[in-house]
Symmetry: C2
Subunit: 406 residues, 2 copies
């Protein structure tokens, strides 16, 4: 297949490109390199030394003899060029990662909120409008997030996309209606993925676009089988307060002998998936396209759930570190349960890599190996969900104490 | 109160400004005048001769001694100026009409789809982000549409915004959960109003913004008490295939002795409200603001429902015209029921103007009075929801016959 990977230079995008190329597909990377610009803006960098996309593609060709085609294109801002590209290349499938993907970054300031909404909504909608206009019947696989549902569940398992509800009719019957499982996003970033869902529903219904939406958990892990093949193929590893996930920041704190900083009680339950499983899921989703006229196919792309404090304990034990509790800069439930259905990918043959088996590799192969590149000041989360929460975090005595000893 | 009316130069915006000014409020009109630019793009004009916004404001001052303050500002494109304006003027309330509001226009081409999404989502989100950033606790009243729910109901009445659903929990109980009444928008325009709902839900929850969302039916009628006070205060009347509502186009067809063109079977049921009631509803909504931390308050702003073919018959009978049936350029159910709850506005004191009593005024005072300004070629709907529907409409023999005799 000829596959366009939008956002193919990013954290999940890059290993996805290598995985699909390795399977023999013709892979085109479309990216505006915004993630690299944001590194520049924030003054942060990947823990792992990361080459330019052009250099990465060159190395992959040297190692495997397979070509990756890179196209610098901003799909949110350059609608006409995107449409022209589609007409010229006519991909069989499109994997869409091309959105700003960090919740804390989306909450940093009004400028970041405005950027995230403008960028993400236009990126997705431009793509949909261009597919309709060009008549290209490519299967679109989009990376969404489990976070659209929020984390205040009433104790029910989150199904894969849809819910049947009964509504009382005028003549007193109860009619069943299938709806998108209701979202309750907790950040501007998550909100944009909730908006995407509505765009997909409309274009599948009105124009018969074939769309798969992957509601992904927190992706952890650095290496896939392909990124291990050459040191210059290594994936990015973010540990800063905006782009570093809770897991990555714990790993870095453990590596530098700093206490693992848990926000609030650490009672937040989150869903996780290893990067190897993430790229495999995309392969599986591509092979299982819906037909034209079918509803959007929605998968929950995650393999296990953990409470944040349990995660901290798991890493602290393995790495010999301590755990510290700080005020939470996010507006969210202090404690929540999270049960997620993921039968679809398991039925398609996914064999999950668990945290219990994969964590030690991350500590040894990544965090300790690149410890000399860690900028300690970048680890704490600085983006607060509201001004009040920002003040609470800023004035917290435990945070001040940790800062003074670090 | 100091009230900012965003989109205050538009069809509902303008009479709203006059109504609120008449009640003694200090009214600021913020508008990018995009609706006038679209008239230029399409080569159409209001049936009623409409002056510039500056001239309209001058006349209102002459007639009443009350000032309307006009500010040329594009809230979708000029985030910084919008924020600056809010800081300078600190409104007590904001009425937000500033979105592209025609479904057929939003479906004309990929360019129009892209424009509508970009404009509407950024307009609404910029406003929300600016309110949070400036800390201005203004009550935001937004004009949404009944159309977000789609028109394929299972026979249940559409409640005012929310639905209680039962979900089965892990331990076998059924837990009740309140959700936004599920949307199923049928055009790109309607889709943007569905996206707005999610933006409102997030900002009310995260930042305590006080928001009222009015899900409006099709607005009909031209005059309000205030627009009648001077010929130059008259409201706009759109009858073209993109911005003219079904009712306006029927009125114009009747005035020129052309058959009333019904799309499909005319079995589509729609909700209606007179412009006088619309501006009164906005007054009532402004006086009934939710508290900070409350959920978004949602009203169904409509007073009656009719099937399109019944509407055609009603006008044909009064005006002595015929009815013709043409293929439907929209992708929608051929026939639908529509029952809408609107108890909230009735309880607040709304006294509806019915079509049965108001239609004749429109025929005599507007359609026949300005008949000499009608451009007959502009009445047929030309925007099709898909390419296939466009071809069906283009090649229809009845449509060809009507065109040849017109």
């Amino acid at each position: 297949m000829r596959i366009a990977v939008l956002g193919g230079d990013g954290f999940v995008g890059w290993p996805t490109c290598l995985h699909l190329s390795d399977l023999g597909h013709e892979v085109h990377i479309i990216d505006n390199l915004s993630r690299r610009w944001i590194d520049v803006e924030l003054g942060v960098q990947s823990l792992t030394p990361m080459d330019s996309i052009q250099e990465r593609c060159r190395i992959w060709y040297e190692v495997t003899g397979r070509k990756l085609h890179f196209h610098l294109l901003d799909i949110a801002k350059e609608y006409e060029r995107l449409r022209g590209w589609l007409v010229e290349h006519r991909p069989d499938a499109i994997v869409h990662f091309a959105e700003q993907r960090a919740a804390p970054y989306s909450m940093k300031s009004d400028r970041h909120k405005v950027y995230t909404v403008n960028n993400n909504v236009n990126a997705t909608h431009n793509l949909l409008a261009a597919l309709v206009e060009t008549g290209i019947d490519a299967h679109l696989v989009h990376l969404g997030t489990m976070g659209v549902y929020g984390y205040s569940s009433v104790g029910a398992a989150i199904p894969e996309g849809y819910l049947n509800v009964g509504v009382e009719t005028m003549d007193g019957r109860v009619a069943q209606q299938e709806i998108l499982y209701p979202t309750r996003p907790g950040s501007v970033y998550h909100m944009t993925k909730s908006l995407d869902q509505i765009l997909f529903q409309f274009y599948a219904q009105n124009d018969g676009l074939r769309i798969t939406d992957l509601h992904q958990g927190i992706v952890w892990g650095t290496h896939t089988e392909q990124t291990r093949r050459h040191v210059q193929l290594i994936n990015r590893f973010d540990y800063d307060g905006d782009y570093g996930t809770v897991l990555n920041r714990f790993l870095i704190q453990a590596a530098i002998g700093y206490p693992l900083t848990v926000h609030g009680t650490g009672g937040q339950t989150r869903a996780f998936i290893h990067i190897k499983d993430s790229v495999r899921c995309i392969e599986l989703a591509l092979a299982d396209a819906p037909a034209a006229g079918q509803r959007v196919k929605i998968f929950n792309q995650m393999t296990e759930t953990h409470r944040v404090r349990d995660l901290a304990e798991m890493i602290a034990t393995r790495a010999g570190a301590k755990v510290a509790y700080l005020p939470n800069p996010r507006k969210e439930a202090a404690e929540n349960d999270l049960v997620v259905r993921n039968e679809q990918f398991l039925a398609l043959g996914l064999k999950p890599t668990t945290l219990a088996e994969g964590l030690l590799d991350e500590i040894v192969d990544v965090a300790r190996k690149y410890e000399h590149r860690i900028d300690r000041k970048r680890v704490p989360a600085v983006s607060a969900w509201t001004r009040e929460l920002g003040q609470l975090v800023e004035t917290d005595p435990e945070r001040k104490r940790l800062r003074s000893v670090s």
